[in-house]
């Protein structure tokens, strides 16, 4: 398998162009704003409690700061991940480089995996940079590391799925904007599909609920690692990658 050279080239392309830096900077800036706002609110609430112990609630860092932060991050990722992956195949098709790439002795699967891992590397840099916030938090308050870890596992799984969907959309078109919008459309549909469940009764409602992205991520931030949720993301990722591979291979067969 010649995944390595493909991966290396893609990562280099992310980091020698402004793309990676702009995405990283914007992502960290916005999550930083959220962190600041949430943490300020938390500090204010703590102060009120300190002055008025009668108001004592279960105020803890995980539930009051990190969980809301993760919630907001998911929305930011929904908007940003399509931009991370839109280039991967669409640009190769537009510039024609795919003609050379696919006539090199490298399997379609290796091309796909190389590009996917490159997108995941950028994603890792994004959520890795975000570790700064819990680290800062740990300076002021006691952070529970186990729920933080499961929260991160949830983020990784969700990012893996978003990237796979984005890669699939990118393999369909030579227009990056189309690729981004299709990715966003698919992800948002599965985001809100759970809301429909409220109006659908019986097993169909349960199915819709189960298909929802939101339904499966909240548990991670609560510190729960549920196989049902892990399997949901893994399945979704594998399915999207499989469809992307089919879309690549389709070109070789359509005589």
């Amino acid at each position: 398998m010649k995944v390595w050279p493909i991966y290396k080239r893609e990562v280099r392309q992310y980091f020698t162009s402004p793309v990676a830096y702009v995405i990283l900077a914007i992502f960290l800036f916005i999550t930083g704003l959220f962190f600041y706002a949430i943490f300020s609110g938390f500090a204010q609430a703590s102060m009120q409690i300190a002055m008025n112990p009668g108001m004592g609630r279960d105020l803890n860092v995980m539930d009051s700061v990190l969980r809301p932060l993760f919630d907001n991050m998911r929305v930011i990722l929904l908007l940003l991940m399509p931009l991370v992956t839109m280039r991967l195949f669409a640009e190769e098709r537009r510039s024609g480089t795919i003609e050379l790439l696919l006539t090199y002795p490298v399997r379609d699967g290796a091309v796909l995996v190389g590009k996917y891992l490159a997108a995941m590397t950028l994603y890792a840099a994004m959520i890795g940079g975000m570790l700064a916030y819990p680290a800062m938090l740990a300076y002021f308050a006691r952070v529970e590391w186990a729920p933080l870890l499961t929260g991160y596992i949830g983020l990784v799984l969700m990012g893996a799925m978003f990237a796979a969907v984005g890669l699939f959309a990118s393999s369909l078109t030579e227009n990056q904007i189309v690729a981004a919008i299709v990715t966003f459309g698919i992800l948002l549909s599965f985001w809100i599909i759970g809301w429909l469940a409220a109006f659908v009764s019986g097993p169909m409602g349960a199915v819709l609920t189960h298909l929802s992205i939101l339904e499966h991520n909240d548990t991670f931030a609560k510190g729960v690692l549920d196989t049902k949720d892990v399997i949901y993301y893994v399945d979704f990722t594998v399915l999207a990658l499989f469809l992307a591979l089919r879309s690549l291979e389709a070109r070789r067969w359509s005589g």
Partner: protein, 336 residues
């Protein structure tokens, strides 16, 4: 090395090529000729395993391009017409990437890349971004990526397009130097290039092969006569009559007047029969002023024009996308 059997490719209702068959022997350089839109690129894309054929089969280096595409791809170097390169990469690291993907081992890769950069005369731009290169350099980087893995078969779609005359000469000698160890199929519009570089040609027009074979044999086949161009001053009627009477002359073409009572004629005689001496004697005897007497070699270009033009006049609708080949005043390069 390349065997193509009744290859057909349809894009929806449009048939790009139909029933194309030809073969290329190992070590040969074959020119693939045809007007724009004739199906050259389509054929080459199929040979390079980029698109599948609708019918027929093709084998490259002994492997079927459809069923054993990975084996074929290991053994070819391909340069598409548009020269698609990663514009954000630098030349040397791009070639290193291609070499790695093509399976050149780590230990030989550095030397191999340096070697092809020297051969393709791009060593001086190796640290430049491909985006900033001129068309000529891009073309040569494209050629370099095709040969970087030292493949058995090279498929080059218009390799010298967009180069300046000096670069063209350099690339031609590079391609020529590949003959023997590599089998090359190259498409081009520039007919003298084919005469200079290739040992045989395949001519394709409107999706079908119209002629193929060694260049000199094709020329002979289409122009069975030798031609002599004569410029002579004298009475037109007598000159025509006198030259037609020479033994072996098949036809005398009455050309334009060139002033001062002189006219230009083209005398065709059976191939191999040289009538120049007799024309001279005739002129001397009749006291006509002989201004020029010159043998005209028939070129591939004329063969090409005749074939393509002939095809077009046969068809009710002329192909609008057929362009005349580049004019090239080379008359004596037909027979290599």
């Amino acid at each position: 090395m390349i065997e193509v059997q009744s290859l057909t490719k349809r894009y929806g209702p449009v048939t790009a090529i139909r029933d194309v068959s030809f073969a290329v022997a190992p070590g040969e350089i074959v020119g693939f000729l045809g007007p724009n839109g004739a199906g050259k690129s389509t054929t080459m894309r199929i040979l390079a395993c980029f698109i599948p054929a609708s019918g027929g089969s093709a084998r490259v280096a002994g492997y079927d391009v459809f069923r054993e595409s990975m084996e074929v791809r290991k053994r070819i170097g391909y340069l598409p017409e548009s020269v698609p390169l990663y514009s954000e990469m630098r030349v040397a690291s791009y070639l290193d990437f291609v070499a790695e993907v093509k399976g050149v081992s780590r230990s030989t890769r550095k030397r191999r890349v340096a070697d092809v950069m020297d051969r393709c005369l791009i060593a001086d731009v190796q640290n430049r971004l491909i985006r900033n290169l001129s068309k000529g350099y891009r073309q040569r980087v494209g050629l370099a990526q095709a040969i970087v893995s030292d493949p058995h078969v090279l498929i080059l779609d218009e390799p010298t397009i967009g180069l300046d005359p000096r670069q063209i000469a350099e690339i031609r000698s590079l391609i020529k130097s590949l003959a023997g160890e590599h089998t090359v199929i190259l498409s081009t519009h520039i007919l003298p290039e084919v005469s200079m570089v290739c040992s045989a040609v395949v001519i394709i027009n409107r999706g079908a092969i119209v002629a193929q074979g060694p260049i000199d044999r094709l020329v002979e086949q289409f122009f069975p006569t030798s031609r002599v161009q004569v410029e002579v001053a004298g009475p037109r009627g007598a000159i025509l009559e006198g030259m037609r009477a020479i033994q072996g002359v098949v036809r005398v073409e009455d050309g334009a007047s060139v002033g001062d009572g002189a006219g230009r004629y083209v005398v065709e005689s059976a191939r191999g029969r040289d009538v120049r001496g007799e024309i001279f004697l005739l002129a001397a005897q009749q006291k006509w002023g002989l201004l020029e007497l010159r043998q005209v070699g028939m070129t591939l270009e004329e063969v090409f024009i005749r074939i393509v033009a002939g095809e077009e006049s046969e068809a009710a609708t002329p192909a609008t996308d057929a362009v005349p080949p580049d004019p090239a005043p080379v008359a004596d390069e037909a027979a290599p």
